[in-house]
Amino acid sequence: MNKQQICLVVISLSTLLLCACAPKSLFYWGDYETSISDRWVENDNDIGEQHLQQTITAAEQSGSKVPPGLYADYGIMLYRRGNPDGAIAYFDKERKTFPESRLLMSKLIDKIHEKQKKTPTQDSQSILGEEKKP
């Protein structure tokens, strides 16, 4: 092996090592996947909410980024549990963290405010209910 060949081997080896290190997660995911399957596959909302809440707390404490959608997801869980103020706070967090969600989050917040102004409705589960088209 001459010098050039050795150089080439060293370069390609170091590139390989660099590549192996490179794929770092952009976000902290924790138990988010489990949280969705708890709710959707196992039909257990309580455990699902717990997993979601733990993931958000762990992400915030670890200094990693909270993934897109988690605050909004937690907001809707709070809403369906009869906590509209909590829902508004989390929808607001979502739109501040991810501007892409602003339109939807603002719409949901407005809808909750509208519902709060009216006398307490029987139908507290649905948010967009009024938009229903025949």
């Binding site: 997660s25 952009l26 976000f27 995911w29 988010y32 996947e33 969705i36 399957s37 709710r39 959707w40 596959v41 993934p67 897109p68 959608g69 988690l70 909004a72 997801d73 907001g75 809707i76 369906r80 991810f98 892409e100 969600s101 602003r102 339109l103 939807l104 649905s126 948010i127 967009l128 209910g129 938009e131 229903k132 088209k133």
Partner: protein, 216 residues
């Protein structure tokens, strides 16, 4: 006469072969519209496995968000669609993409069709398969921005030797037949399909944004 006919068929094969390969490499529509946000609507299920769409939905967010896109929360998406009377995936997939701009403010909508979700037994070995087709559409123009297809397979059995080994494997297969965990395979397929060279160029939350064109 026969020869010309044969020639025509051969020529048609070549033409169709060319067009599909060229389609795969064409990212011009994608780059022209470069979406920042994606809403994943409930998957269309062409299999008999009723849990497939929800297992799929649990595993789609992370791979897509890790590519750098804002992904609307799948659970909230499903709730909001149901709120306005859209609970059938078949119906949702027929809607004009612009509907998802109005409803969610999403730049693009991802339609997924589950093609296969099954466990097949051949003698004493089994293979678990998930297979999906993906299409990303621009919500402003309705144009198809990207299409993908991914299959993930896990085979087990057929390795150990001897009669005892065979019996153990047969029992093993019988037990796993009842509780096949499709989650890891769904996760694997959803991760692979968005990667280069046929996947999605990265979005704005990925540091490689706008610099990874050469990989596709």
């Amino acid at each position: 006469m026969k020869k010309t006919f044969l020639g025509l068929i051969v020529a048609m094969f070549f033409v169709s072969g060319c067009s599909t390969t060229m389609q795969k490499k064409d990212y011009s529509a994608f780059y022209a519209h470069s979406p920042r946000s994606i809403v994943v609507v409930p998957a269309l299920n062409n299999t008999t496995e009723i849990n497939a769409p929800s297992v799929f939905a649990s595993t789609i967010t992370a791979p897509l968000a890790e590519r750098g896109y804002y992904v609307f929360p799948v659970y909230l998406t499903d709730i909001l669609l149901k709120d306005i009377g859209l609970s059938e995936a078949g119906h949702i997939h027929q809607l004009p993409p612009s509907r998802f701009l109005d409803l969610f403010g999403a730049d693009a909508v991802l339609f997924v069709t589950i093609v296969d979700w099954s466990t097949k037994y051949i003698l004493i070995s089994s293979s678990v398969v998930v297979h999906m087709k993906y299409e990303l559409k621009d919500t402003r123009t309705g144009l198809s921005l990207w299409q993908g297809e991914q299959r993930a397979v896990r085979s087990s059995g057929g390795g150990a030797g001897g009669v005892a080994g065979l019996i153990v494997m047969a029992i093993d297969a019988a037990i796993t037949a009842m509780v096949v965990d499709y989650m890891p395979l769904a996760r694997q397929a959803n991760q692979q399909v968005f990667l280069p060279s046929k996947g999605l160029p990265v979005g704005p939350y990925n540091p490689e944004y706008k610099t990874d064109q050469s990989k596709f």
